[in-house]
């Protein structure tokens, strides 16, 4: 079985669990498949609009909003205190890796779009790819951070553009963030994250 061939079936949720797992592991290493999956996911999602859509029961909306309000309060505060609320991260669209990670685009103050894709493998190792990131300026480097829920940011590797395999494992509910730091990296972030995403 060539795992490359599974992209369409994965986009349609037509893989058996073991096949889906193998494909997700492969995604972390295959840029072509990630790109193709992003496209095919869009086509698959378009099929959703082919179904007749009766109005959902009115209580569903309230139920979702109430559940969200209850859950949110447990998740955010620690992280919000840590960094200034300046950076927007747009969790978007392509959703190439919904099951294994997430796709997040950041809108920077200058208007540049960044799209960060984190692919989590089953063993909790992860790769981070940031598209749209300019090469780091002279004397600077990008540094990735893994921020466990309730914990301090842990340095997860430096890079000058593109992406990297994150050092260490990414615990459940951790946040992955990227900052611009001085060359060589630092042990704790000193700047506002350019992009962040919650796993």
């Amino acid at each position: 079985m060539d795992v490359h061939d599974l992209t369409a079936a994965y986009a349609l949720d037509a893989l058996e669990p073991a096949e889906a797992e193998a494909y997700e592991a492969h995604l972390g290493q295959c840029e072509d498949c990630r790109a193709q999956l992003a496209e095919l996911n869009e086509s698959a999602a378009a099929l959703a609009f082919g179904a007749v859509a009766p109005a959902p029961p009115a209580h569903l909306r309230e139920s979702i909003l109430a559940a969200a309000a209850a859950e949110r309060s447990n998740v955010v505060p620690l992280f919000r205190r840590r960094f200034a609320p300046r950076v927007l991260a747009v969790a978007a669209a392509a959703a190439a890796c919904v099951a294994v990670g997430f796709t997040v685009a950041a809108l920077r103050p200058g208007g540049t779009h960044l799209v960060a894709t984190v692919v989590l493998a089953a063993d909790r190792t992860a790769t981070l790819q940031v598209d749209g990131l300019a090469h780091a300026p002279q004397g600077k480097t990008y540094e990735a951070w893994v921020i466990p829920a309730g914990g301090a940011p842990r340095p997860a590797g430096i890079f000058t553009g593109g992406g990297l395999t994150l050092r260490g494992k990414v615990p459940a509910h951790a946040v992955v963030a990227v900052t611009l730091e001085r060359a060589g990296g630092v042990s704790a972030p000193t700047t506002t994250p350019l992009v962040e995403a919650r796993t």
């Binding site: 009766p54 200034a84 609320p85 991260a89 669209a93 099951a99 997040v104």
Partner: protein
């Protein structure tokens, strides 16, 4: 308080795509209670995965509908509820009339026209997989075809749909503020 605007953003997202999401879930699971569960789980997964939203060009719908679909398929496989033989009979409530949202109706007509223009074998593979919740192995068995053939049909069908449907219009996207 930021949480309040995040909640109103979630409400806005629901108002925009909740109906399409519910329609999709219902089509797959064929049970209103299971459909509600799938939609709720998907919206909460999205909520927990990052985000606040602002109007912008992006594809929030792909994200939410992908989440909904996955949960619906999981549910239908768990419940063994799928009945593909009724796919042809459009088991949903009758369409048309004043109840249906005009924008959704246009979308549906567009997608259904695109589906109709596909070769029968490709359309069948896409419908059984996406709406019926069948895996590729189940499809291969059901249709008496090698699995490679099923994969090719799915790939060709989705690729062709992409061409037929072209670039989607402007949507809203999600942002997360740290």
């Amino acid at each position: 308080m930021a949480a309040r605007s995040e909640e109103s953003a979630l409400a806005e997202l629901y108002d925009r795509y909740g109906r399409a999401a519910y329609g999709l879930a219902l089509r797959v699971v064929r049970d209103p209670a299971l459909a509600e569960d799938a939609v709720q789980e998907a919206f909460l997964a999205l909520w927990n995965s990052a985000a606040r939203f602002v109007p912008e060009k992006s594809k929030a719908s792909t994200w939410i509908l992908t989440l909904v679909h996955r949960r619906a398929v999981d549910a239908v496989r768990r419940e063994q509820r799928r009945r593909a033989d009724s796919l042809d009979h459009a088991p949903e409530p009758s369409v048309g009339g004043v109840d249906e949202d005009a924008w959704l109706r246009l979308q549906r007509e567009r997608v259904q026209a695109a589906l109709r223009s596909l070769p029968d074998a490709q359309r069948e593979a896409l419908e059984l997989a996406y709406y019926g919740g069948f895996s590729q192995s189940e499809l291969a068995e059901r249709l008496g075809q090698p699995i490679g053939t099923i994969k090719s049909r799915m790939f060709a069908g989705l690729s062709r749909l992409r061409e037929l449907l072209g670039e989607p219009g402007t949507e809203v996207s999600w942002t997360s503020t740290i």
